[in-house]
Every structure is written in C-alpha cells, then in structure tokens.
Symmetry: C2
Subunit: 257 residues, 2 copies
C-alpha cells in the first residue's frame, strides 16, 4: 500500500479547542506533512478569522475540517485511536513515544482509519476521553515544562507520522563530478612543488605539513572543478614567484605507476 | 558528558524574524525540549507583547534571548552551524535530514557550541546566510506545501535534538501485578465450565471458541486483579444459573501438573 494512501487514512481530532488560532496552526502543521483530515470536537470558536489567518496556505485542510459534538463521533470507524498527553496517568495502559506511536499508526493504517487525538489547551484530554482511545502517546519533553502548544504537538505528531510512512530522505544538492585519484595526486604534487618554491615547506624538514593537507582535503571529497581551482591558485603563485607555470602542468597527464 | 550539558551548548538563531509572536512561540518550543539559548538577528519587533504572550510559561528563554545585528555575530564561537531550509539549493554542500542533523549536533556538542539557524518567515535563509553554516538541514515535508511556520520548524528541530541527546523514553503507567500462568489457566477452566453451563459452548462441538478466547486474553497480558474481576463475573453467572459457586472456586488452588 502506498504511503500516500496510508497518510490519507489518518485523521487528527482536536477536542474542546479554545483558541481558533490553534485550529488554523494545526491545519497548517498537518498540510506541511501531507496529512489532510481534521476533525473538531466542540471547538469554542470556529470558523474564525484567527483560524484562517494561522492556517496560512493550508485552507484546503481547514476548509475540509469536520465539526462534531462528541469524541466517539470523531473516532467512529477508526481502527487505531491514539490519545496524546504529556501528563502521566495511572490507568493509561499502553503508552508509546510519539515515534513508536507513529509507526504503530502506519502499521494499523493498512487495515483502516487512524485517529490522532489532542485535548484542550489548558487541561489536555480528560481520563474519560483517554479511555476512549486504544493507545496513549506522549512526546518526550522537558519534565519541568512539558507544555507544548497544541498545534506544536500536532506538528511533531504529523512529522513523525510522515517519517514513519516515507522515511526521512530529503533533497540533496546536485553532485558535481568527483576528481579522480590521479587528479588529486597531481594536485598534491603541484602543491608540494609550489610550497617548496615558496619556502613554506623545507624538503629537509617537511614535518607533517603534507600529511595534514592530505587529511584535510581527503575529508572534502574533492570535485574535478575544485582541483582545477586549487591548481589555478597554485599556478598563479608559481607565476608570482617567476617560475614558468608551463612546467608545472606537465604532470596533469602523468599517471601513478 | 551528560545530555544536559550537551543540550546547554545548543543555541537557536532566528534571522530577520518578522512576527514577534513567532519569537515567543519559538522560545516556548525550545523550553519544552529543555533548550535554553535563543539568539535573534535583527528581529523586526522585539521585545513585543505578542512575543511575551506566545512564549506562555517560557519567559526564562525569551528573557534570556540575545539580540545581535549579524549572522556571524550570532554564530561566533560555535563549532557546528546548521542552517535550516526547505528549499533545495544548488550549492548546499552537506544536506542532512533534521534527524541526522540533530545527531550530528549532539556529536559536535561534545567539542563545543552548536547553532541551529532559521530564516525569515517569507524568504527563509538567503544563499549567503546558508554559506556561513557548515551543514544544511531540512525537515521532510509535503513537496507541494513545505512551508512550516518558523516556530513549528524550531519545535521539530528542538524535539529531534532532545531525542538525539536523551532518546525517546517516555513515562509509563504503573504496572500492576501480572497474573501467573496457573491463575490464567484457572480462569480458562472456569470460563469453559460456565460457558458449557450457559449452553454457549457445546463440549461435543466446541469449534474454535476456547482457542479464540485464549488468543484474545493472551494479547492483554492479564493482571491478577483482572483475573479476579473476570472470575467474579463468571461466578455471578454461575449463581444466576443456580449452580453452587463454591464448587467453581476449588481449582484456584490447583496447579498445573
């Protein structure tokens, strides 16, 4: 089953939300992670201009939000119901970190709908509301200040759900052509000659200069173009020292034995 | 080195932030994850009542924020500088997911300070600002709407940094005494007798009823108290059927061979 289908089965349920701005921010958080479904249980004020403003470009999620008057109505046919709370509860049963809960959510999504449930800004979910859900999830946090904003908690849950579904591969900058071993050796030979000519390197007492330079450039995984730039700088130093730069370039065609 | 010391070495840098509310929300996000240091580069409005309001209980981070007038001043002695951007850039160099970047940050924190850098709400970080940082980090997101609110991005980065430092172990509800194997077998024997007496189970045609019940309760990892509750219900059924409940209890003391 594709990760898009799995993510499409996730609904986020906000219970008794006080501030409409948080509803909009939660809609935006969901949209950034490719989640689409929002259910509002007894929102104090909705629709509201603050919700629209904080949703920013995520009106598709906000406008599609469903309003219901009870938590069971919001959960209805979900086969996996996950209640988020930071507060330890004696009767919580199965308690998972948000990361483990997200993996469980994606496992269950193969079989049906999943609900992620978040409580009111001041009091969170009640014990009774928690008891309607099969799993309790909690976000690792500062023990002395675990009070995440509700939309921030939705953001982390949505992020972990997306990563559970699709992994965390991200865009990469384009790779330019890597330098070959002989191009890199040509650079080191050129550098050695020029550093000797500059009298920065003494052939009689080389110390660790060349190994240090090799170590530094080895970490960079030099590209062809970068070798050309560095040899261009060396050739310019050669010119300024009055050496014939032509003689420094012959080894470009030379190969290691 | 303790995870507290590592986290104390992380500073979060907000560049050219337009909305003071986002500065307050970022301070709250950091505080929830146990991060303490906030640096503001040319904030448009700061201090501001919106920043204070959105910081909620996190005034300790907001009040300690340092304001500087350039990104290099904000990075100064950091040994690891991580720029956050959602937009692919040609010259980005080393690009990590936020999760990998958080692990790298904690690895580097053993050697010195770490900076997490976030750009302006509309335009993010410029290419020039990005070039001041050693690592580019990006948060996996919806390709068609990757526009996280800046405080939401800070929340995810702070969360991943905390999890990289301390793992994601969370509170667990108290464990009650588990039932022993013989207590569980006593329950199944009792259930079998009662179900036969109820004529719900036919000894001649038992079908898969008892194995299904065993499978169900095996998944629950029964507690002692739960076995007592279930046997109490069975005993009440026995009473209603007119059987002497005393005869059903003798096997409690029986042990499997």
């Amino acid at each position: 089953m594709s990760s898009e289908i799995l993510l499409a089965r996730v609904r986020t349920v906000l219970v008794d939300t006080s501030h409409p701005g948080n509803i909009g921010a939660a809609a935006r958080a969901l949209h950034t992670m490719g989640l689409t479904r929002l259910v509002l249980v007894r929102p104090r004020q909705y629709p509201h201009p603050d919700a629209t403003a904080r949703a920013s470009g995520a009106s598709v999620v906000l406008d599609g939000a469903k309003v219901v008057d009870s938590l069971p109505a919001a959960l209805d046919d979900a086969v996996c119901t996950i209640a988020f709370t930071s507060r330890p509860r004696e009767f919580a049963g199965r308690v998972l970190s948000v990361r483990d809960a997200a993996h469980e959510a994606m496992r269950c999504a193969a079989a049906g709908d999943v609900a992620l449930v978040f409580g009111n800004e001041m009091s969170g979910l009640s014990n009774d509301e928690l008891a309607h859900c099969g799993i309790v999830a909690t976000i690792p946090a500062n023990a002395t200040y675990a009070s995440l904003n509700v939309a921030s908690a939705v953001q982390i849950a949505a992020y972990e759900t997306r990563v559970a579904a699709q992994g965390d591969a991200v865009w990469q900058a384009p790779r330019f052509a890597p330098a070959s071993a002989d191009e890199i050796e040509g650079l080191y030979r050129h550098a050695e000659r020029t550093l000797v000519a500059m009298r920065f390197l003494s052939p009689a007492m080389p110390r660790r200069l060349l190994p240090r330079l090799r170590r530094l450039f080895a970490r960079t995984a030099l590209e062809k173009e970068e070798v050309n730039i560095l040899r261009g700088i060396l050739a310019r130093v050669d010119e300024l020292l009055g050496r014939d730069p032509g003689t420094q370039r012959e080894d470009v065609a030379r190969r290691p034995p």
